[in-house]
């Protein structure tokens, strides 16, 4: 069972590597049904298009940011999933791109995956990642006139816990 399922993961990686030999930096099979792919940030829209049209990953489950202050990077994660392709319906493909921490800009994938709309707005608000080409990049969750840095960055520290 695991042999068969692992080959499916390798097939996805193989297809992506064959199509984008220079954009895919690193691939990893976390376990059955989970594939992590690190890619170069400039190719995000092409990869998304390929994932949607050729591989059948027609939606994203979420877009997450991860702050890496030691590497001075912000990582953007796309969790791609599929409804239409029955063969890969159980997969979560995690696409990762690293952006510079002082000026995080990446192209928006809303034109490819419409489901990323609110997720990208949230990542913009929480990490300050600018998604170029997003139709409506506004703040979503925090106060209307939220001042200060994006709250999910690791620099923002809470006051010491345990105080009343």
């Amino acid at each position: 069972m695991s042999q068969v399922s692992l080959s499916r993961e390798e097939a996805i990686i193989g297809q992506l590597k064959a199509r984008f030999p220079e954009a895919i930096e690193e691939t990893k099979i976390d376990r059955a049904r989970r594939v992590t792919i690190h890619f170069e940030k400039d190719h995000v829209q092409e990869i998304a298009m390929f994932m949607r049209d050729e591989l059948g990953f027609d939606h994203v489950k979420g877009v997450a940011g991860v702050d890496l202050p030691t590497q001075k990077k912000i990582e953007v994660l796309y969790f791609a999933g599929s409804y239409s392709n029955a063969e890969v319906q159980d997969f979560i493909v995690i696409l990762k791109a690293k952006l510079p921490r002082d000026n995080p800009i990446i192209a928006s994938v809303v034109s490819v995956w419409e489901s990323a709309h609110f997720h990208e707005r949230e990542t913009f608000e929480m990490f300050g990642v600018k998604f170029e080409g997003h139709p409506d990049l506004r703040k979503l969750l925090t106060l209307d006139n939220w001042e200060g840095p994006p709250p999910m960055l690791k620099d923002i520290k809470f006051p010491e816990m345990g105080q009343r």
């Binding site: 925090t142 106060l143 209307d144 709250p151 923002i156 809470f158 006051p159 816990m161 009343r164």
Partner: protein, 172 residues
Amino acid sequence: MSQDTLQDFAGVWIGKMSELVQTIIGSGPIKYIVNWSRMYALWPVHITTACCSAEFGAMMGPRLDPERFGMQAVAGGLRQCDLLIVEGTVTKKMAKRLKIVYEQMPKPRYVIAMGDCACSGGLFHDSYSIVNDVHKLFPIDVYVPGCPPRPEALLSAIVKLREKIRRQEVFA
């Protein structure tokens, strides 16, 4: 006699009359009647600030049936409401709206802080978007701890609030 002194004269008398009316109403059996009617007409505002509203719904449901205490089912209009139940976490974004809601309610108005988050910030007390001290927005009559409180606990708070109303002065 100038216009002003006449008005002052009348003003003094009107003031004295209203004081008399206040002392009559605010003492003796009339006070009890007024307080009794207030006790049995606690209509809650339904502003759901957070997830404690699930237990508020359970209290409004058939099992406890607060209409026994004259709490009518949720009214949409603020001008008819006497009781503001802060149902859970008050975020900074919601706090402004909550204050507006409180100011729109007619006097006398009562506030119950339901749940840990409304009492002190609760589980989220160290978050960046939470108002920990809801009692600084408006005075709170009864605090109900619990996360969320049982519907019975909320009803016991309403019983406590009724006790407070029964003892209060009519013109506070």
